[in-house]
Subunit: 341 residues, 2 copies
């Protein structure tokens, strides 16, 4: 068989501030691949099915010498991120053609040779969910909400839970977990559409952080027993100021700091004074303990319609730059996913 | 018997910034007490033996309407803090004349009637230690170091432990706990004298944060697995920037913020990115679980000379204002205690 196109998205420029969708990444159709004959060396050949676009990807768009938890994207090389793939050929006994899987770092190209099963999780998908959902509510975003909540929230009925970026894939899931645990949920987001969705997910109080003072809302509705932080900055500062004794702060993300800014958080002293526990986490560290429990429960609940979610699916690798930009600026309407099928 | 003097120290003015020792508190000898006849109403009469002077007391010198974990001092009323007392008369079956005890809030006056045994812990002192030590290495300061370390540090041999205010009563004890656990200890303080003591306690690397860059030292000696924070601000920021993955930050105090300032901490994003766990704590919340174990071990080790400590004892209530000022500005040489015997 002749070689076929292997379209890809490469990292082309380290951004200053918010990534410019036209400059930071480039869609490239120049590569070819011979699907029948490309050497596998004991690994397997996979086609990308769905690729997740997430806020933290901005952290990987950095100078390669800067050491952080996640390796940097390399200039001229394809982006990598959490994604779902389908096996085309395999020399590995643990996975066979036709299997679907997710992998922590799947290359942003149509076809990849993967050397082994590290970070690969084979998906059975008994509920026949759309594969894009395995990048969202049943993928890394859902895992982040579900595993972080189970590990750190320690909810008690009546606890006040403040959720930021509440219309997003993680926040909206957290709202539902908090309501199921009997919490009162206060939710913030940056648009009427997102607030409406947060309300549909069960939030008791919703407000737009751009037009209302977070501190004033929490003064009224708090003190806060559980703070789910996706944003840092002003929201974190207000949650500190209005924290309950021994509150749990779940630090899932700080989008307000990710593009080079660092808002001045003035109430850090409350961490000591109010006996706060502040849990930064990366879902990867929780995955080994929770993965089987998550897949045993969440896809079934999604299939039964018991978990609300929204997706923002773009079809084709050529939309990766735009999707990254929207996720950094709040323009996406639901979990951002690139679909290739 | 005629009434005797009941000298006391009252809270006289809410300070702006660092408390002025001449204005914030007043020593007052005008009160009298009839030791034989003062009504006990089922409680007991005690003489103050030793009173602890601690950094956090600044938080209590505030407007009474501001709600924080610790109740405010009341203008015109005696200060209260952790202290050791001796029972003179008792109507309570759980405590008898001659018993020594510590109490979380003992009044800053020579004699007090205490209504019951809440927050009272009777001290056996089998090792015949000086009573002032029960305000220091065998008291709240020692409890803070010992209990906080056991609850949150999770040390592994070879871990880098960065200790701030390392010449103080908490920091110097933490150094010894960290060394006993096989850690490499990096210690900062603000004077040559304190650094010398930190070195004697076993610190591997010591530096003066006023003349050396904490970030530079941690860049060289880190990354930091365990950060014992007594100061917040610049030290916290540097520890965040040079944190190891999954490091533990033990937030014992933030003296840099206590007098109304709030230094801009720019690296909070590392809490998420480096999977950090940040444990604010108040020793009172750990006390119920750890108190018996602490008293079973620490006084014996102190008597055997196995724990280094330094005291800065002032004899007499008239020195309370000066002692508070020194603790806020780093002028004390060891655990600050007011002795009344």
């Amino acid at each position: 068989m002749a070689s076929v196109r292997n379209a890809r998205v490469v990292f082309s420029e380290i951004p200053q501030g918010v990534p410019d969708p036209q400059r930071s990444v480039k869609y490239d159709e120049s590569e070819l691949i011979d699907l029948d004959n490309v050497p596998l060396n004991g690994g397997f050949l996979a086609k990308a099915v769905a690729l997740s676009i997430d806020p933290y990807m901005r952290n990987r768009m950095r100078e390669a010498h800067i050491v952080q938890r996640f390796s940097p994207f390399l200039l001229g090389k394809p982006l990598v991120n959490y994604g779902v793939g389908r096996v085309i050929r395999s020399e590995h006994p643990g996975i066979k053609p036709g299997d679907y899987f997710h992998r922590k770092d799947l290359s942003f190209q149509e076809y990849s040779v993967i050397p082994d099963l590290s970070d690969v999780y084979v998906l059975t998908n008994e509920q026949k969910l759309p594969w894009t959902l395995y990048c969202g509510v049943a993928g890394m975003a859902g895992q982040t909400a579900w595993m972080g909540w189970h590990e750190y929230a320690a909810p008690k009925p009546g606890d006040v839970c403040f959720v930021t970026a509440a219309g997003g894939p993680v926040g909206s899931f957290v709202i539902q977990l908090a309501k199921a645990a009997g919490c009162k949920v206060v939710a913030s987001a940056g648009s009427a559409d997102k607030l409406q969705f947060a309300r549909e997910c069960g939030a008791d109080v919703v407000f737009n952080y751009k037009t209302a003072s977070t501190a004033d809302v929490l003064q009224q509705e708090g003190p806060v027993n559980i703070y789910w932080d996706n944003v840092g900055g002003t929201s974190l500062d207000a949650a500190l100021a209005h924290s309950a004794n021994s509150a749990r702060f779940i630090e899932c993300g700080m989008i307000s700091t990710i593009n080079g800014e660092s808002p001045h958080v003035k109430n850090l002293g409350m961490i000591v004074g109010n006996d706060l526990k502040v849990f930064g986490f990366i879902v990867g560290t929780l995955l080994p303990r929770y993965e089987d429990a998550f897949y045993g429960e969440v896809p079934r609940l999604v299939a039964e319609g018991k978990i609300r979610y929204r997706e923002d699916v773009k079809k084709g690798l050529q939309y990766v730059g735009q999707a990254i930009y929207e996720v950094q600026t709040g323009g996406n309407k639901g979990k951002s996913v690139i679909s290739l099928e």
